[in-house]
Symmetry: C2
């Protein structure tokens, strides 16, 4: 169990196996700790696939069946239209200020569910039950919620923390291999920015981890969550330290945006982004050549990363639209040695271009293979 | 100048004449007090009418012209569609996390503007410049923001406080007489629940107040804001004391809902609601017969209230949908003597029906006149 403690909220993340079979008593316990009871009306926001696979076990522990709200899969449903539809369903079903929402699914369900909980009747309580590796190690912790606008990703949202997060390894058993690998790049990032022992563990145990050995997965997930909980506890609103969580994300987001989110999974784009950050780190000597080699190898261990055929300048241009940029300042996160990172504001367009070119050279499709 | 101090925010409400001519320096001063500067991008959300009347004077003090966002007038535009449209305009105009929003208009502009500021890039700063009496004394203070769903009013929103509120009496010079009278019922309410001297002042100076004597208006507005600031400071999230602000609002909201918000202004519905609350207070002996008579007279002083022809049972049924109700508990605010109020949870349907009948008998259209 990992504690998250920010200026505005205190909650726990439970990581384990089989949590899904006892969700109601677990939630009742969390609520009791706050002097509250399970309300009359409980909602579950989930995706049709997840619900198909897990509804029976999910529902088994509930005395009164929750009202199920379905969000169709895919980034294109992460918008205000979906939010409005779901809010209306909640109002029609008699949801009031004491109602509770459970966001049960991947990162999109978590982001949308958290946002709905943030704005329904000016805020109701919610729990996160993330079903993908990425959601378990990253998006379910930290209170960031939101949806996309046609003008950009996550441009609308709130900070709204869950009452607790239940990360059940067992849900990962149905996760496609590609999604597991993609999610693991966020753990690689976690190690790079703040946890040298996680780095070493992931270097030494890639076969176990990719083979879904429960103990190995739990170790990686717990360490990743602990790192994030620590950073978010120190800087809830991303005014300083929390920026380091964006290692690999500047060019990662640019890749996603240029390919219209259709080619790579988020974690894969972060994987390529990490490679350009490592290159920049080596150029600026925040990491040594041997550290660079070692960290590059670690990224490759969790590949393969899908091939890309993109224009480097286009990627650099796309970084200008990143909402992390304030005014004209271009912030960039660099690795510092093994297990540390820093934020710099003086990375020039030329440096960024060089880093993008380095990365894209590695990402080029092999002869005879089609790329993006 | 009135200070608002809640657990999550501290800000000031400036009430005066001619503030609109010096908004930029005033805002710069507030920002400087927080170690911030006026950002590159400033947005003004306003309604076409208000902007037509006041844009010249509003803009005169701004070195760089703000980006104007227009919200068409009327409750039917207070919805998520309008919110999405405005958020997209902001994204297109290059709004970032440091951008600032000014909500310049009546209650709807304030509610929508505050909500947009709450969710754009997970929250940006904003100022309130309320242009109606009602918005000045009520909705611009307290941090409640939001929009309607087809299923009910204000079902979606956030708590998000402005950096400051600038209530300029001069803006009231173009306010229709009916809107002024309607807004004054919120001040009558303010006096009833917490300010005996405001009650007396409004009893003794109705001619001056309705004649828009600047000193008299300023006195009523400042006292009303002070009352609200105090209550909100004690109970930001409406878990207890803040409930008393709903005196007259249970049946007031029911009237608005049954007439689909088309017949009465909000303040007028509150006026009728206050009458039923006074009746219930008399029945339950929380006010004496002479106090009842005196407070009834005060409500009438700020009339005329538009006639109504409604079914009492329908009104009572409509109160069940009020989002202030938690589960099956029906909360009701009663006046206690002169200048105090309490919340009770045991008002029966029969009592409420009697109060509605009493009020509707008074609200009946006069012979030969058409009512709602």
């Amino acid at each position: 169990m990992i504690k998250v403690e920010t200026p505005s909220a205190k909650y726990q993340v439970f990581a384990g196996t089989g949590l899904i079979d006892s969700l109601q008593p677990r939630m009742v316990k969390v609520l009791a700790g706050m002097g509250q009871k399970l309300p009359r009306r409980v909602f579950v926001l989930t995706s049709p696939e997840i619900w198909e696979l897990w509804s029976k076990r999910f529902l088994a522990s509930f005395a009164v069946e929750p009202v199920v709200l379905l969000l169709p899969p895919g980034e294109r449903h992460k918008n205000l239209r979906s939010v409005e539809k779901i809010l209306r369903q909640m109002a029609k079903a008699g949801g009031d200020r004491s109602s509770l929402l459970i966001a049960f699914g991947g990162g999109i369900v978590g982001d949308v569910g958290g946002f709905i909980a943030a704005i329904y009747m000016r805020g109701i309580s919610y729990f996160q039950v993330p079903s993908t590796f990425l959601a378990q190690v990253d998006s379910s912790v930290g209170g960031k919620t939101g949806v996309n606008l046609p003008e950009g990703k996550n441009l609308v949202g709130s900070f709204h923390h869950p009452l607790a997060v239940f990360a059940d390894m067992e849900l990962l058993s149905t996760l496609p291999d590609r999604e597991l690998r993609a999610g693991l790049f966020e753990s690689v990032k976690a190690g790079m920015i703040r946890d040298r022992s996680l780095l070493r563990y992931m270097e030494e145990n890639s076969a176990k981890i990719l083979g879904r050995d429960p103990a190995a997965l739990e170790k990686v997930i717990a360490a990743s969550i602990r790192m994030k909980a620590e950073v978010v506890g120190i800087d809830e609103r991303e005014s300083g330290l929390r920026m380091i969580l964006n290692l690999g994300h500047t060019l990662g987001h640019a890749i996603e945006s240029v390919t219209r989110y259709k080619v790579l999974l988020h974690g894969e784009a972060v994987g390529w982004g990490l490679i350009s950050s490592l290159y920049l780190g080596k150029m600026r000597a925040t990491i040594t050549e041997p550290q660079f080699q070692r960290l590059m190898r670690l990224v490759y261990l969790y590949g393969p990363l899908p091939a890309l055929r993109l224009n480097a300048q286009k990627l650099v241009d796309a970084t200008a639209k990143d909402k992390k940029h304030l005014g004209n300042v271009r912030r960039f996160v660099l690795p510092v040695g093994l297990g540390d990172a820093c934020v710099v504001e003086d990375v020039s367009g030329a440096e960024l271009l060089e880093a993008a070119q380095y990365m894209l050279a590695l990402a080029k499709p092999l002869p005879g293979k089609a790329g993006a």
